[in-house]
């Protein structure tokens, strides 16, 4: 299950969560204050696989960048995990960009993103119909103590993710290697002395993964921070979380939980081997504990050391939005891009089995009224699809042509055809002022269409547990999702595969269509990635014909950074990307 959904809720729950204004997004129309925005949106581009030449390193230089200096990162909370095996939420993943390297990684050059070999010389060689993947490691790749990163360490790093006590990380490789979602039963992890036969290490520079089913997008999966190398000799087990042994360009100098953390250069890291990390600053200082508004105000004031400060994921709050949007000097140092997170309203497909009724909900839903409460166009861009523009193969379509303000007349017609003109709908929402207001807007609009609306407040701490309950008594609730890599395999497969329905599973809409499940298997078995992308897009449309969700907005991220920094932009993880940042 993807922890990133939690982040997208968190940002939606944050007081006046705002994301950015992009001049490029025509769907929003002209936005006041947006004309000065220089930031490019995350391109609606495919993330292609780079060649071996792209993978050699060093990373092509950022124009005007220079080495040295200290960057301060202001974060609302400390990173909950740094142990790569437990890293899944986007702030944690962003921190681990600085502390770990993977077999493959995303390379950003002038707004284009490519997947290239990071520790490996390329993006892997498939054989046996994409069931076997072979990676060759580069030479000269070293840990913080100068020892060499070996293929055994890659294997050990993946094996650690099987340990039941190292919870919280993604489960893709574990499931693919063992063929079962209950992978810890198949292989308990390396601490008991057992080795995983599905990963073979013929020599210290070659690692071979044997999957139980074909996965053409395997190179993307190994780019996740969870599958970083860990040397068995330095595995401090659960203590690794506080002080991970660095394979990346920086290592931890000091870390006071919930207060501060300082990263300094790792002596073992060699820029010549690394095609994705620049590591321009000498030092990273993290400060934890500020409220979003405090962080915004410090970044606006940019006093002394704050002039080289940034934040990974704190959004510009509605309190200062007006000021930031109307001040060109502030707008010029704002990251302003659509993030990979899509948000939607789940229709409980187990309770509402009538297609016409689900379609009526979709037609009547006041998407604009609700978005206005969360900051309007700053919050995100309307979407009518399941996949977001950052996903490979994304196709924009609008199956229902539902107006964003809702169409009560059309909904009434659908309800009349459904046989029950006045069904009762339970709308569950997290107990914050904004969601309370949203509930008013939702019930007003649905009332007009003939629904009888019951609004049910859920304590915001328990929100995901309550809607994750497979026997929940709600009909309509907010949820969100961000892909783990730019393939629909990490969206449609986990969210809409009805066989995966379990407590807290991402299939919170409880959608289970055997035909769709079968199609997911069929697409996953395809070996051609571009064919997969096309088929995923077709499946997206097919699923929406059943109206299991009401697509709402693709979230945007607007974050400020200090005037003393350059090379700041959003990364695929959905946070401000630290690897191209330099001190001016």
């Amino acid at each position: 299950m993807n922890r990133r959904t939690r982040l997208s809720l968190a940002s939606a729950l944050a007081a006046g969560a705002l994301a950015t204004v992009s001049a490029c997004h025509s769907s929003n129309g002209a936005l006041p204050g947006a004309s000065g925005s220089s930031a490019a949106p995350v391109a609606k581009q495919a993330v292609s696989l780079g060649t071996a030449a792209d993978s050699t390193g060093p990373d092509p230089a950022v124009a005007g960048a220079k080495s040295g200096g200290t960057v301060t990162v202001l974060q609302q909370n400390d990173f909950s995990h740094l142990d790569p095996a437990r890293v899944y939420s986007s702030p944690n993943q962003t921190a681990d960009l600085l502390l770990t390297r993977q077999l493959t990684s995303y390379q950003y050059v002038n707004g284009t993103t490519r997947l290239v070999g990071d520790l490996a010389t390329g993006t892997g060689t498939p054989s046996d119909g994409d069931r076997t993947w072979t990676f060759t490691l580069k030479q000269g790749i070293k840990y913080q103590d100068g020892s060499t990163i070996t293929a055994q360490d890659i294997k050990y790093g993946v094996e650690r993710t099987f340990e039941a006590s190292l919870s919280g990380g993604p489960s893709y490789l574990q499931t693919w290697l063992t063929g079962t979602a209950n992978y810890s039963a198949a292989y308990p992890g390396p601490w008991g002395g057992k080795s995983l036969a599905a990963i073979q290490v013929p020599d210290s520079r070659t690692v071979v993964f044997h999957l139980t089913s074909p996965h053409a997008d395997f190179p993307y999966a190994v780019a996740m921070q969870a599958y970083s190398p860990v040397p068995a000799a330095h595995d401090t087990r659960t203590a690794f979380d506080q002080d991970p042994f660095s394979s990346g360009p920086y290592m931890i100098q000091s870390h006071q939980a919930d207060k501060s953390m300082v990263l300094v250069r790792s002596p073992g890291w060699n820029a010549a081997t690394d095609p994705v990390r620049h590591a321009y600053p000498d030092e990273w200082k993290f400060e934890f504990g500020g409220q979003p508004l405090d962080i915004d105000q410090r970044l606006i004031a940019a006093n002394s050391s704050d002039s080289t400060a940034m934040t990974f994921n704190t959004l510009v709050t509605s309190d200062v939005a007006e000021q930031v949007l109307s001040t060109p000097s502030l707008l010029a140092r704002t990251v302003d891009q659509v993030s990979p997170f899509s948000t939607y309203f789940d229709i409980n497909n187990k309770r509402i089995t009538n297609l016409k009724e689900r379609q009526a909900l979709l037609m009547a839903f006041p998407r604009q009224q609700v978005r206005e409460i969360f900051g309007g166009p700053l919050y995100g861009d309307y979407t009518n699809t399941i996949l977001s523009p950052v996903t490979n193969g994304y196709q924009n379509y609008d199956l229902y042509h539902a107006p964003v303000t809702g169409d009560p007349a059309a909904a009434q017609k659908l309800l009349a055809a459904s046989g029950n003109a006045h069904p009762t709908i339970v709308f569950a929402y997290a107990g914050t002022t904004q969601w309370e207001a949203a509930a008013v807007a939702v019930s007003t609009a649905l009332d007009k269409a003939g629904f009888k609306v019951v609004t049910h407040e859920v304590d915001s701490k328990d929100y995901y547990d309550e809607i994750g309950d497979v026997n929940n008594d709600f009909d309509l609730y907010y949820a969100g999702w961000g892909p783990d890599w730019p393939s629909a395999d990490t969206v449609i497969a986990p969210v809409f595969d009805g066989r995966l329905i379990a407590p807290d599973s991402p299939d919170t809409m409880l959608f289970n269509d055997p035909a769709v499940n079968k199609e997911i298997d069929r697409i996953n078995a395809e070996t051609d990635l571009s064919q997969q992308d096309q088929d995923w897009a077709a499946l997206d449309k097919k699923i929406m014909a059943e109206a299991p969700i009401i697509p709402w907005v693709d979230l945007r991220q607007v974050s400020l950074y200090g005037p003393g920094l350059g090379g700041v932009h959003l990364g695929f993880i959905g946070t401000v990307y630290p690897l191209d940042v330099y001190v001016k």
Partner: protein, 330 residues
């Protein structure tokens, strides 16, 4: 004999009585009328009552209600970010105090309906708290010995209980016990929970005050003589003691009302009180605190209204005390 004693003027009143011989009530009214601050705050308080209880009438005359999302229904009231267009939160001849950011409801009607919510809830609490507290205080103070001891310990425990924390934790739990998730928590039930929980902790203050008064009164000659001639305890409590306690009761009532108005608002502010769509000051101020830098007036009007109300009620309470009990000093 007992009747004669009951009708005897209060010792305080006797000393203050001018020669022409007025009743204590008339004397208090005379003193109150001379207090200009008292009169002014009394008028303000009366105005709040009229506006609050007459909210539906005012809303009907004004042509708006607190529930319609005007800003979302008609263009030109809110900008694309959900904030009111125009100065001072969208103040205009149509929307006297502007519109709410986000939903675009009318601020003026929300405010006057908010008064009604606050007043109805806090007055109910005050009535319950006063009746219960007076009874407990009377019994404890008059009975003495183990009755007084045990009741006083209960009062101590209630008084030192971390009440605010309890409210926040208990109110949602209490509501979820009685209402299934598929049903809306009815507004009357939310109000009832707030009233119940606040009353459960509020009576102790009144009880302790009354007990103290009773302790000093019961040593007075008129009570002792009543006891000596065999007047039943119940009659002594109701006919001898209670009439002498009206002054502290009235004063505590007049100071408790603004106290409960702010407490109720604080609970709503913390998310444990009244919820949407019931108009409520606490929630308006909470929303105002979130949007204050972009739309200051949305915090200003409910904040000002509450300030004026609490100030006026407290001043009125002071004046009532001065009028009823001229010997006490501020």
């Amino acid at each position: 004999m007992a009747t004669l004693l009951t009708d005897a003027p209060l010792p305080e009143a006797t000393t203050a009585a001018p020669p022409e011989g007025r009743s204590p009530g008339a004397l208090a009214w005379r003193r109150f009328r001379r207090d200009r601050v008292g009169i002014a705050s009394g008028i303000v308080v009366a105005l709040f009552f009229v506006v609050g209880l007459g909210a539906p009438v005012i809303s009907w005359l004004y042509g708006k209600n607190p529930y319609t999302t005007y800003g979302q229904n008609q263009p030109g009231l809110l900008n694309p970010y959900g904030y009111p267009l125009g100065s001072m939160g969208g103040m205009s001849s149509h929307f006297w105090l502007g519109v709410e950011p986000g939903l675009g409801r009318d601020v003026f009607t929300q405010l006057i309906y908010g008064i009604r919510t606050s007043l109805l809830i806090s007055l109910t609490i005050v009535v319950i708290v006063t009746v219960l507290g007076t009874l407990v205080g009377l019994v404890a103070g008059y009975a003495g010995r183990w009755v007084d001891y045990s009741m006083s310990r209960v009062i101590d425990i209630v008084l030192c209980f971390p009440a605010t924390l309890f409210f926040i934790a208990f109110i949602p739990v209490a509501q979820s016990v009685f209402v299934s998730p598929t049903q809306e928590v009815p507004t009357w039930m939310r109000a009832a929970t707030v009233i119940l929980v606040l009353s459960a902790f509020g009576w102790a203050t009144t009880a302790r005050l009354i007990r103290g008064q009773v302790l000093s009164l019961r040593e007075r000659e008129f009570i002792q003589s009543a006891q000596v001639i065999g007047v039943p305890a119940r009659r002594i409590i109701l006919r001898e003691l209670l009439p002498n306690l009206w002054t502290p009761i009235l004063i505590s009532v007049s100071l408790a009302v603004p106290n409960y108005v702010t407490t109720e608002a604080a609970l709503s502010f913390l998310g444990a009180g009244m919820v949407e769509p019931t108009p409520d000051w606490g929630r308006m101020i909470q929303r105002g605190a979130e949007v204050y830098s972009a739309d200051f007036s949305y915090m200003l009007f409910p904040g000002l209204a509450m300030l004026v109300f609490v100030l006026a009620f407290n001043l009125l309470g002071d004046s009532v005390r001065d009028a009823l009990d001229p010997k006490s000093t501020r």
